[in-house]
């Protein structure tokens, strides 16, 4: 018996049936709560979308606030977008040049870079930067307004906060992000010309002629159309997260953070869908 005891001690005790049952029920409750929260979030998201849509087409439009938001979205993002656009073109050219040189196709460089910038790099990179700059800004601003009861104050003074706060922001993002993308595209091609001149010698006129010769209507139009959806998604997600922020100051940071993450996911998903549709059509 003495010899068996140490062996018995080493065998782990099996948890009692009661403990096991409690663990299982706890897990079940947690998962049910998570599922409920997920579906509630989806419901709230659709409801917010419907209210925004309804407020967009209501009679009184806050034009002054819309212009202010256009300025905020457009002007304040301009330096960042300028730098990014220029660097994208520069880097793409520097990276692609040796590979094209291997195939003796350096003359195709302007066209290749222009197509990749206009079709994909320009819109997606600009949109992702706007997610960080505009989406988080909207999330934090509306979140702090929610926390400090400013949205409630607006509501009790018979002003529809959806009409005053959400609609101008969503519309401003929807209209200004395509403009920013076009601007980034132009600077990207300029950056590409600079990149091409680092190890070569090509005139501005020749580079641009070659670049625009490769770009067709089918490259340009779908890329521009999808940027409107990017803008709408960024504006909408930023406002939604700000509007549904919790009560504490911590929730302002969370709203800003979640705005960036969710808007970025939306941008990537919209891009995927847009690419599939473009592929089917052309």
């Amino acid at each position: 018996m003495k010899a068996i005891r140490p062996v018995l001690k080493r065998i782990p005790k099996l948890p009692s049936v009661k403990t096991q049952a409690i663990k299982i029920s706890d897990n079940a409750i947690k998962k049910t709560q998570l599922t409920t929260r997920f579906f509630r979030e989806i419901g709230e998201f659709y409801l917010f979308g419907w209210l925004t849509f309804r407020a967009t087409f209501s009679r009184s439009f806050e034009f002054k606030e819309f212009l202010r938001q256009c300025f905020q979205v457009g002007n304040k993002t301009l330096p960042l977008i300028s730098l990014t656009g220029l660097v994208i073109g520069l880097v793409l050219t520097i990276q692609s040049r040796p590979i094209l040189a291997d195939f003796g196709a350096t003359s195709m460089l302007p066209g290749m870079v222009a197509v990749s910038i206009i079709r994909e790099m320009g819109p997606v990179v600009t949109a992702l930067i706007c997610c960080g700059k505009i989406g988080s800004g909207m999330g934090a601003e509306l979140g702090s307004m929610k926390v400090s009861e400013q949205i409630d104050a607006m509501e009790v003074s018979s002003t529809n906060p959806m009409r005053y706060l959400v609609v101008p922001r969503v519309l401003a993002a929807t209209l200004m992000i395509p403009v920013l993308v076009l601007y980034a595209d132009a600077l990207g091609i300029l950056g590409s010309w600079v990149g091409a001149n680092i190890k070569g010698d090509v005139t501005f006129a020749l580079f641009f002629t070659q670049a625009f010769r490769s770009i067709g209507f089918s490259d340009f139009l779908p890329a521009v159309i999808k940027t409107f959806f990017f803008g709408a998604a960024i504006g909408f997600v930023g406002c939604y997260k700000g509007f549904t922020a919790g009560r504490g100051t911590e929730s302002v940071g969370k709203a800003a953070n979640q705005s960036v993450v969710l808007a970025s996911v939306f941008v990537i998903l919209i891009d995927l869908i847009a690419v599939q549709i473009t592929d089917m059509l052309y």
Binding site: S148, E149, Q150, D152, A153, E155, V156, S157, S158, T159
Partner: protein, 275 residues
């Protein structure tokens, strides 16, 4: 405890209850969050030109009550009639019409950070009183700021003001649209005793100047003493006692005593002044 006090505790006898028709009538109001009840079967009335103070400990449902009144929160059951119409059953247009008649002073002041004090006051004014000319708007803003003693802050940002000044600016934004009912959510919270007294004086001035009826949510006894015509005490989401401030002070009930005996009563009620 005498008979009258017995009646007032858990009852609705009320010493200062007017015979006029109630402009706000709350009946059997219930509201909970995540299955935790906050308001349980609460009933009260607000009469014309009276200041009704709602006292209670933190978490007793005071703020929830006035948020239900303007439908910032939707009650689970019961009814809230304002000017004879049930707020719970109003459509958006009717609700907007009623909200125009109600001024709500938030606990935090809730001034719009991105606007100057003038723009803060202009914001509700140009949306509610659309017929006013530019000159009339400016005059009303100046008058409201003058009434709260903040004429020189017209072009300042809210961040440049102290806590008490922000409360007063917020009060100016509320009164600039000439409300008929004022709802004050803890107007003196976070302020020093001197500034608290100033706010209490302003509450009395607003009642006099603008002829308003008010519900003042507070747990500040001095503010209740200075402003209240009638007092209701909430406990666990129910009306615990209703009566005049004197009845509360004379009460021998342990809960009331714990509230009222902490601070000695001030010798005089806050004096009203104009401007």
């Amino acid at each position: 405890m005498d008979m009258e006090q017995q009646l007032n505790i858990n009852g609705h006898a009320g010493a200062a209850v007017s015979n006029t028709e109630a402009i706000i009538e709350v009946k059997n109001l219930q509201k909970g969050f995540d299955k935790v009840p906050v308001l349980r079967d609460l009933s009260l009335q607000l009469f014309e030109n009276e200041n009704l103070v709602v006292l209670g400990k933190s978490g007793s449902g005071k703020s929830v009550l006035i948020k239900c009144m303007v439908r910032l929160l939707i009650a689970d059951s019961g009814s809230i009639h304002i000017f004879g119409k049930n707020v719970q059953e109003m459509n958006e247009r009717e609700l907007a019409e009623v909200r125009v008649k109600i001024g709500f002073l938030f606990q935090s002041g809730a001034l719009y950070d991105s606007m100057t004090i003038k723009e803060n006051l202009e914001f509700p004014l140009i949306r509610i009183k659309k017929h006013l000319s530019r000159k009339e708007i400016d005059e009303k803003i100046e008058e409201a700021l003058h009434n709260v003693g903040l004429s020189d802050t017209i072009n300042k940002m809210p961040s440049q003001l102290s806590g008490g000044m922000r409360k007063r600016a917020s009060l100016a934004r509320t009164i600039v649209v000439d409300p008929m009912i004022m709802l004050y959510d803890e107007p003196t919270t976070g302020l020093d005793p001197v500034t608290s007294d100033e706010i209490s004086i302003l509450i009395n001035n607003v009642k006099k100047t603008y002829n308003t009826s008010s519900i003042i949510i507070t747990h500040d006894i001095e503010c209740a003493r200075a402003t209240g015509d009638r007092v209701i005490m909430l406990d666990k989401g129910e009306v615990y006692m209703e009566g005049s401030i004197e009845e509360f002070e004379q009460s021998t009930d342990a809960l009331i005593q714990s509230f009222f005996k902490i601070r000695q009563p001030s010798s005089t009620k806050a004096q009203t002044h104009h401007g």
